[in-house]
């Protein structure tokens, strides 16, 4: 009882099913990932993102339509969006825009 073998059997019972990560954590990890990506090279132009099948939120869509250079369309509008702030700080954040990753983390 309570020897090596007992502990090995207890540990061998495995993990059980996946728990859901808090939506707040998903939001923070996504924000950190985008910061990291944007720090190494410009993000993919929003027009190209859309053309490759990515769903844009209403703000990203507006930026994609701007008659400006690709530098603008490669920026990260989430940095100044309140959806990101809410998403990172609370569970069940009231974010409902289609195409917004923070909305998908909280409502998915």
């Amino acid at each position: 009882m309570f020897d090596d073998l007992w502990f090995e059997r207890l540990a061998g019972m495995g993990e059980g099913s996946d728990e859901r990560a808090p939506a707040r954590l998903k939001s923070k990890v996504y924000s950190a990932a985008i910061m990291r990506m944007a720090g190494s090279a410009p993000l993919l132009d929003l027009k190209e993102t859309k053309n490759s099948g990515g769903h844009l939120c209403v703000f990203e869509h507006s930026v994609a339509l701007l008659p400006m250079g690709t530098a603008i369309r490669s920026m990260n509008p989430c940095r100044v969006c309140h959806a990101r702030v809410l998403g990172e700080r609370m569970e069940h954040a009231p974010i409902f825009w289609p195409g917004c990753p923070y909305s998908e983390f909280h409502n998915g």
Binding site: M1, F2, R9, A11, K26, V29, A32, M37, L43, G54
Partner: protein, 202 residues
């Protein structure tokens, strides 16, 4: 051997791989093109598994779970160009998580041992016969183990997780922490004794 524990097949910590995903290489390629939506899909697809993995192995320090999960994803992004697709993304991420968690174990177990931990041993009851009569099903046993580990002194919980759930030998642990194997064995013996006391109390 405790008759209350059912015999279960499988290795400790084994997480079934996700179904074959032919889109993984496309997802990786999209992330490497700095596609933000691909990054969102990547996080959404794998974060629950990484969170579960980290949470179950950092029970005594649940406050470290979220930082560890974030570190795993950032390390993965940094190394994604080296991902060859020889395993699934999930398996690859779990491998990164395992290293990050072992870093936590190593750091925490290198800290000097608290006198409270050893003093408690003196109050442990002598060897007693199992007092649990009911048949524990797997789910209940897992929950009970988690609950007991969470109540142990931090270093005891971590060393049990490292030795039995991560299946690392005492020699490996000793080398990683920078102590003798005997020292690890002594700490494990104390950890098992405290675990036993709490298990029988529950």
């Amino acid at each position: 051997m405790d008759p209350n524990l059912p015999v279960m097949p499988g290795l400790a910590g084994e997480i079934p791989p996700p179904a074959e995903d032919s889109g993984e290489q496309e997802l990786v390629a999209a992330i490497l093109r700095n596609d933000r939506k691909a990054a969102a899909r990547f996080v959404a697809a794998h974060i629950d598994a990484i969170y579960t993995y980290a949470r179950q192995r950092l029970l005594p320090r649940a406050d470290l779970v979220e930082d560890t999960v974030q570190e795993v994803f950032l390390a993965a992004l940094g190394g994604l160009r080296h991902f060859q697709g020889q395993s699934s993304l999930r398996t690859w991420l779990i491998g990164i998580a395992r290293h990050k968690i072992e870093d936590v174990y190593r750091r925490r177990l290198r800290a000097p041992e608290s006198l409270d931990d050893t003093a408690q041993l003196d109050r442990d009851p002598p060897d007693a016969a199992p007092m649990v009569d009911e048949q524990l099903d797997t789910t209940r046993a897992r929950e009970k183990a988690r609950s007991v580990i969470a109540r142990l002194p931090e270093r005891y919980g971590l060393i049990l997780l490292w030795r039995y759930w991560e299946q690392r030998s005492t020699r490996d642990i000793a080398q990683a922490v920078g102590v003798t194997e005997k020292s690890v064995e002594r700490m494990l013996a104390r950890a098992r004794a405290r675990f036993k006391q709490l298990w029988l109390e529950e």
